[in-house]
């Protein structure tokens, strides 16, 4: 999955109406990931989830990776606010320890074992989470065009 700014640009390109609806607000986030992660340190992480920190401002998913020499490492992967997940019907225990995941991202500039959750998938490549609305999930309100 690509960055959301790219997604919005995609909408624009596909529209063909000259509706350059690039959101001004898309340049804002809680913090710019660019300040935290190092573009010169790409990582590919694979392994089981060990812990989920269901906290604000960002969710952190911990996983255990195994290096080529067999050494185990714990990494933390940064996601967004859990509020969005709650609204889509997910809860803290929806993500179980032991679940194998793949993450590609960039390591933190502070060189700790942290990375951004650029793309988090199951081992088969399926999205670990999927973004949508109006899914009928417990806390998910209908999509706007479904509003009565």
């Amino acid at each position: 999955m690509r960055a959301k700014t790219r997604v919005i640009l995609g909408v624009v390109a596909a529209c063909g109406l000259g509706l350059v609806f690039v959101q001004v607000r898309s340049v804002y986030a809680h913090h710019a990931f660019g300040a935290e992660f190092d573009p010169n340190r790409p990582v590919l992480l694979k392994g089981p989830v060990t812990r989920v920190e269901w906290i604000n401002p960002h969710t952190w998913i911990h996983l255990e990776t195994t290096k080529a020499d067999g050494k185990k490492e714990i990494w933390m992967v940064e996601g967004g606010t859990p509020n969005s997940l709650l609204r889509r019907g997910l809860k803290r225990d929806s993500i179980q320890p032991g679940q194998a995941i793949i993450v590609d991202g960039y390591q933190a500039k502070d060189r700790s074992n942290r990375a951004n959750g650029r793309d988090i998938t199951l081992p088969g490549g399926q999205k670990f989470f999927m973004g949508s609305s109006g899914t009928g999930a417990p806390y998910d309100a209908p999509g706007k065009d479904e509003r009565k």
Partner: protein
């Protein structure tokens, strides 16, 4: 039932309080694909046709569906030097779409799909900034650069550098305010957590913003604090003009939202237009930053969704990591400079 009866008595299909005022209380989801400022390509066009609005909404759905497709399970790590992503994604990739909630379509006012939230000036864009503001923004841009993973401020001798002092970092990064202008005023849509809860009593309007849990308390028929009392979200007083609650906000500190100065003055207008929505209008005046006032309007649809707590200081690991990362990059840059 009480509300329905009162509405009938008044002959208007809006909920009313026991003393007959429009009841603004409720939760609203203000996410929209209509941008704050109109794309230049649309010129003076204030609205989209139904067909265009449908294309926009359909494309947003299509993009969401595309981004939910599986990734290559045998993919490699992303490219060294960055993935080229821009904005908050900062060359390292940003949020997956599941974390983001920017709405599913444009919003409609008086039967027209709006092309921008800004309605005055008529081109839908903010008026020009003052010379002083332009200079300040240029200086800021010099230190706010795309992420290359180096301490350019050391190699280029820029002092103070952008990470020298925690208090130089953006207020959102420090968990002090919502990013963008979510908490406002003016309160504008942001990337996620766009819910607002309003509670109206006879003498107070409380506005809870989900993002960063900002709350504003508006004193109806109150008077402003003396000018030396400054607040992050300003000091808000309200008055009724017919069925519209007009909220006047001044007394900001040095860092209000939307790039304004401490001289910011915002007038907001809250008007229930039916049982399911509220029309939120605002005028922004700040002679230090803009050459003239500007105004906007956005529909706030009521929602059955709930506001969840956003306790930003709960686990703001990012901030420590950002500052520590800057120290490591500085140490490396200093070595290079010495060589």
């Amino acid at each position: 039932m009480t509300l329905a009866m009162v509405a009938t008595v008044w002959g208007a299909e809006i909920p009313r309080t026991p003393d007959g005022k429009p009841d603004l209380s409720g939760t609203y989801d203000i996410a929209t694909l209509t941008p704050l400022t109109r794309p230049a390509s649309l010129g003076e066009r204030q609205s989209l046709t139904d067909a265009e609005a449908k294309v926009l909404a359909d494309q947003a759905k299509a993009v969401a569906a595309a981004t939910n497709k599986a990734s290559d399970p045998n993919r490699k790590a992303p490219p060294t030097g960055g993935d080229g992503s821009e904005g908050p994604a900062g060359n390292v990739g940003g949020y997956n779409s599941l974390w983001v909630d920017i709405g599913e379509g444009a919003f409609k006012v008086d039967g027209k799909w709006r092309t921008s939230i800004v309605i005055d000036p008529s081109n839908g864009r903010m008026p020009p900034v003052t010379d002083a503001a332009r200079k300040q923004r240029a200086a800021q841009a010099k230190v706010s650069r795309p992420n290359r993973g180096d301490a350019f401020w050391i190699t280029e001798g820029i002092s103070p550098g952008p990470y020298d002092d925690p208090e130089m970092r953006p207020t959102a990064e420090r968990c002090l305010l919502s990013f963008g202008s979510g908490g406002g005023p003016p309160m504008l849509p942001v990337m996620y957590n766009n819910l607002k809860q309003l509670v109206l009593t006879k003498d107070t309007l409380v506005i809870v913003n989900e993002m960063v849990h900002d709350a504003r308390v508006v004193r109806i028929n109150g008077e402003h604090e003396p000018p030396e009392i400054r607040r992050w979200l300003g000091d808000s007083i309200g008055r009724w003009e017919g069925d519209t609650l007009v909220v006047d906000t001044t007394n900001f500190n040095d860092n209000p939202a939307i790039g304004a100065s401490r001289n910011l003055h915002v007038v907001e207008r809250f008007r229930r237009i039916d049982a399911k929505s509220l029309l939120y209008g605002f005028t922004v005046e700040d002679p230090t930053v803009w050459t003239k006032p500007w105004s906007g309007e956005i529909l706030w649809p009521a929602t059955e969704q709930r506001i969840f707590e956003y306790a930003c200081h709960e686990g703001n690991y990012s901030f420590g990591g950002i500052l520590k990362g800057a120290r490591l990059l500085e140490a490396e840059a200093e070595k290079k400079v010495k060589k």
